[in-house]
Amino acid sequence: MSTTALWLTIVAIGIGTFVLRLSFIGLSDRMALPVAMTRALRFVPAAVLSAIILPAALRMPEGGVDPSLDNPRLIACLVAAGIAWMTKSVLATLAVGMGTLWLLQALL
């Protein structure tokens, strides 16, 4: 790809991404969201974050997905989820989750 084409590609993705980000925030003074949409939006964090987490938790270091239950990443995620549930602390979740993964990788 030529330098010009590369820049055009990057700028196109950049503008499109900004439009996606601005979309509803930009229109917020001109339109109120329908009630059904407001109700649906309550589920955005849970649905999107979990959809990012699980594939990343099952991903193997060398690529590909390992859905087996003895996948150290999956176990570490489950332990970390328990800590997040009990403590609601981001730091504690990160520390215990990372610690569990390193421990399992050293042992297995």
């Binding site: 790809m1 330098t3 084409a5 590369l6 820049w7 055009l8 590609t9 990057i10 700028v11 993705i13 950049g14 499109g16 991404t17 900004f18 996606l20 980000r21 601005l22 979309s23 509803f24 925030i25 930009g26 917020s28 003074d29 969201l33 949409m37 109700r39 649906a40 309550r42 589920f43 955005v44 964090p45 849970a46 649905a47 999107v48 974050l49 979990s50 959809a51 990012i52 987490i53 699980l54 594939p55 990343a56 938790a57 997905v65 859905p67 990443r73 570490a76 995620c77 970390a80 989820a81 997040a84 549930w85 609601k88 981001v90 730091l91 979740t93 990160l94 990372m98 390193w102 990788q105």
Partner: protein, 236 residues
Amino acid sequence: MKPAIGDYIDGLRAMLPLLPGAVPFGMIAGAVAAEAKFGAAAGIGQSVLIYAGASQLAATQLVADAAPALIIVLTGLVINLRFAMYSASLAPHFAGLTLRRRALLAYLMTDQSYALTVSRYGADGTADAATKARFYLGGGIAMWIVWLGATAAGFMLGSRVPPSWSLDFFVPLSFLALLVPGIRDRATATAAATGAIIAVVATGLAFNLGLFVAAACGIAAGYLAETWRKKKEDAR
């Protein structure tokens, strides 16, 4: 009344634990761009122009594979479709601010800045838009600086972090820490479980559509679960 600077600092403090996860990810994005023979300006500049890690990585990979430009742009944008969902979710919080302010907030939108702001103010109807914007910016600006620094370092030095350290695991862990406290009832749990399972099943979808499809299914599942529960209660 608390001075305005306090809101920025609150936002920065909430973001601090999430910043280390962006470092290895940003370094990989920079290193991959260097390997794909991007010039320094394009390799680091994409972090300013696009400012979205997964999208930058996918686009860079496709450039390296000599994919058609249209496919690259489409893939880069589909991964970012979730930002429109975040935008809709944040819109009521930021209503009434100037367009310039809202454009800045939109530009700095990340998974982290979105999740932090919603988990902090989602149920709190008392905070005004300006306060929420300052909280969002305090963390958002810090994330922008870290991301830019990490991609620049990755571009120049290569990714010096050995994969065996599994530092990429910081990313799903930090999202997990934001996700779990937000699951307050059966409907949000249904949304989370559906989103997670569909995302794994749909991993192979073209243009990386899997994430968006999974998120949409999760939202629909949560909505339906809530509707059914209400109907049951009304029937009683």
